[in-house]
Symmetry: C2
């Protein structure tokens, strides 16, 4: 019988240390003989600033461009480390959980792997990206607990 997971989506956050999530996904890929893809989602700064009524400036655009460039660099490094093709790497912009849901559904992934922190303070009220991804995902979700 075919194993449950054939196509896995590893969602990384380049602002975090992803070593543990990557190791877990590598092991799963090996054990299941699955195809592995990689996704990182940059949240436009506009989403954060627009709500505060802050006026737009060149500085924000420059910062976004620099974040985009840095993400491409990190994506390329991880692509090489994991031996992936360009088609297996997805660098997206938008709300992380929505973008991940959309990609997982359109490309028929059967597992999303991502990291999650222990929640405290404000995070406890707002919930984590992992919770938002789980809430409404069309496939299974494996949340890897990161040590704080």
């Amino acid at each position: 019988m075919a194993k449950r997971y054939q196509k896995m989506l590893l969602a990384v956050d380049f602002h975090e240390d992803n070593a543990e999530v990557i190791a877990a996904a590598r092991e799963l890929r090996e054990l299941y003989g699955a195809e592995l893809h990689l996704v990182h989602v940059n949240e436009p700064l506009g989403m954060a600033y627009a709500a505060d009524g802050v006026s737009w400036g060149d500085q924000v655009y420059a910062l976004e461009a620099s974040i985009r460039k840095e993400s491409e660099k990190k994506m390329n490094e991880l692509k090489a480390e994991l031996g992936l093709t360009d088609d297996q790497c997805h660098l997206l912009e938008g709300r992380p959980s929505s973008q991940i849901h959309e990609l997982a559904e359109q490309s028929r992934f059967d597992l999303i792997v991502l990291g999650t922190h222990g929640q405290h303070g404000l995070q406890l009220l707002l919930g984590s990206t992992a919770n938002s991804v789980l809430h409404g995902a069309s496939c299974d979700v494996l949340a890897i607990r990161l040590r704080d």
Copy 2:
């Protein structure tokens, strides 16, 4: 190198069809060579009724006793199906997410496996048990997407 998962906790809800979650946990147990435990949590009816100010009666106690008995029966069936020992079966009472967190932490599980539905209506606001378990778990959590 030792595999990531050595001790897995399969959380079942006897009010649901657990076939898919059980199949997923079996496969993981085999691939990882891990020890598998089983947990089901009965939520005391008192928790639901107390908030409404409904007075207690024999009927509620009788219903609770019948639910407890039915859970024991189902737990025994699943224990046999999965070839588990008594020590590997945990029938608890309380708030499901809290009980699962406590058990996972005390007995040092490294993965919790449980089912989750697509959320809609009220569930979308309240969140699922899977979300509550993920939120604050001390180990990894795999949520198996159940078809509605």
